[in-house]
Assembly symmetry: C2
Homo-oligomer: 387 residues x 2
């Protein structure tokens, strides 16, 4: 969608529709800057499409989200997006309490580090944790845990601002199931007057293979959605999408400014990523390659007792390793050995989980069946190897 | 400087020399990834210079800084750099108190917003403010104010972590003088066990015309220097430079991770900016054009009573406007009128200061004398105009 040159009114209306009211205009008559050279910038008598890119990106992102989420604020990193979501939820609820998972990681700002127990630093004030669903837990268990957490907060006199969780629990050990386990928790959070912030920095942009966003697997609509990492496929661009009412409440307290948030180059990069996801059918590829990989890993688990569990969705897979009986290594030591053994065999994966004993397989969305087979073969060899 | 291909030991030594110990290696045998295609990445048997760019950038930045500052952590934005500097100073001092100026702006994360009273939101816990030097203040006044602030903190039982200020006070109304006014304050901060964080996001990279960094005008060496905005000249790249001891203290508590901080493309962009600053003699240009502009503005002040004071250094200039006697407008209203009048005449400047009555002239460093003259003419016309 492009707006005819010179039609500032139409452009402003479009802007008001998709960008949060935290943005402000610098001049009484807004400028539509489209190019610059030396000390000069030029307005929209020339090439104007450049400056429309933030609007186009906001529109294309919102088209992938439930209609309740109707505007966007751009930042540069996922940490900034989560930090901003936290600021917003404090401002609009008046609360200061947050619920995160026991071994969460949401980013590196001072406040978000306090909500990232994976980092090993102390929890921030008002931050409460709940355990991720464990192997035997049914769909109701996580909701019950959040319910008890809310009771603890109430007893402590802490008012809830938000629950902030990944839509597939990543650093807790790649916890994806049971499907829908977030729904009951989100209902309880809303009843307590809090917001639900879906951290899609890792799960988003089609990684789970079924939909663009991880929260879709849970049948829920978040109040705020944070995104980053894959959004620019190597370029720093990130965003918060949210419900209009939530942004409006925050905007009452002032504007939000981010020098490079939503600059045209970053937006062009993110638009190209969305285009490639569509053109190359990467959701379908993530689903197909992910299923193939998961099947292969479950096959390996039959032959290697070191593999305790295979979890995940799409191309976001966790392989939990137990102690190696033959070598006497702990699960964590065995995982370190496997990570480095895979590296020598040309496969790069990380490790995660509270006990450091989960291989985190989060491959490029372009992974094909043949690449998945190489990974499986390298893992098979590494697990067999006596090194 | 380039390291011979395959010499990982030399590369690791170089890395240890200039990057803070908060960085960690992901594998026992570190990888030197130099290119990628599809799902594949290639190590340094091929083009290897790409992955050296973070090291080269760190080396080139450190070469512009006092030798006490000897390593770097990369982030993506100035807000992230200030937020990280705050995390570091809390961790290494054990304190939680901060001193900022009365109308400071340092960024948009939750914690930094609490240190940015310009934003209009409440100060964060443990944040104290001091007034910027006023017209008649001598060099000692600011130090005395910081001394009294430290006494207030002590009385409140708040332990100092750091003083965080711009090296030319920007949002307080572009306060540059008296030259050296920060020195006494920094001495007192150190005596109280706190760190001095120099926010160079606006003043840095040669803007003040005399040196790369604004703190040079004050004859001081900061413990941490934050930089961003002009560092990538349109691209999101930022950093914290610091003393080795300070980073080592922070690294004891764990590593710092920033997905896009220090990526090769961002580093290449920042290296190009440094190259252009050198090749085009932009420091000398900022000094010469800045002096010309300042002289012209002082000339206008002789003829226009609306101009109350002209302040600044290099190409970072503030023009304080008083009430317009003829129209009865307040200083702030007159400033808004002038900002929009200049815009119509093709000159884009902002406004700042507690009372919103200071034109903030922070032009591109490529501003030439002829462009400065255009600005002066447009301001002359706008001030004369009855609109």
């Amino acid at each position: 969608m492009t707006t005819p040159p010179g039609n500032h009114a139409a452009l402003l209306a479009r802007r008001a529709r998709v960008l949060a009211p935290t943005y402000r205009l610098f001049y009484e008559q807004p400028l539509q800057i489209v190019r610059a050279e030396g000390v000069w910038m030029y307005d929209d008598s020339g090439r104007r499409y450049l400056a429309e890119q933030p609007l186009q990106l906001a529109e294309e992102l919102l088209a992938t989200l439930p209609r309740e989420l109707d505007s966007v604020i751009f930042t540069c990193t996922g940490s900034e997006a989560n930090d901003l979501a936290v600021r917003i939820s404090k401002a609009v609820t008046g609360g200061s309490g947050f619920i995160v998972t026991e071994f969460a990681y949401h980013g590196a700002t001072e406040v978000i580090a306090g909500m990232s127990p994976e980092d090993g630093r102390p929890l921030g004030p008002g931050v409460y944790t709940v355990a991720a669903p464990l192997g035997a837990d049914g769909a109701a268990a996580f909701g019950e845990r959040v319910g008890r957490c809310l009771e603890r907060m109430q007893a402590d006199g802490v008012r809830l601002a938000a629950m902030l969780v990944d839509t597939i629990f990543s650093s807790d050990g790649v916890v994806a199931d049971p499907r829908g386990f977030l729904a009951d928790a989100v209902r309880k959070v809303h009843e307590a007057g809090g917001l639900f912030i879906a951290d899609e920095v890792q799960a988003g942009f089609g990684r789970l293979g079924e939909a663009m966003w991880g929260f879709a697997r849970h049948g829920i609509v978040p109040d705020l959605v944070t995104m980053g990492k894959p959004m620019g496929n190597g370029h720093p661009v990130a965003a918060v999408a949210g419900r209009a009412g939530v942004f409006a409440g925050f905007a009452k307290g002032g504007s939000y400014f981010n020098t490079y948030g939503g600059n045209s180059v970053s937006c062009a990069t993110a638009l190209a990523v969305l285009q490639v996801i569509r053109d190359e059918n990467l959701l379908e590829n993530a689903r197909r390659s992910g299923e193939h990989l998961m099947r292969g890993l479950r096959g390996l688990a039959q032959r290697h007792t070191a593999i305790r569990e295979v979890r995940g969705a799409g191309l976001f897979i966790g392989v939990e390793l137990g102690a190696n009986a033959a070598s006497g290594r702990s699960g964590a030591a065995e995982t370190r050995r496997v990570v480095n053994g895979l590296c020598r065999r040309g496969v790069l994966v990380g490790s995660t989980g509270r006990d450091g004993n989960v291989l985190k397989i989060r491959s490029p969305l372009t992974l094909e069946l043949q690449h998945a087979d190489l990974l499986l073969e390298a893992l098979d060899q590494t697990l067999q190897s006596p090194e």
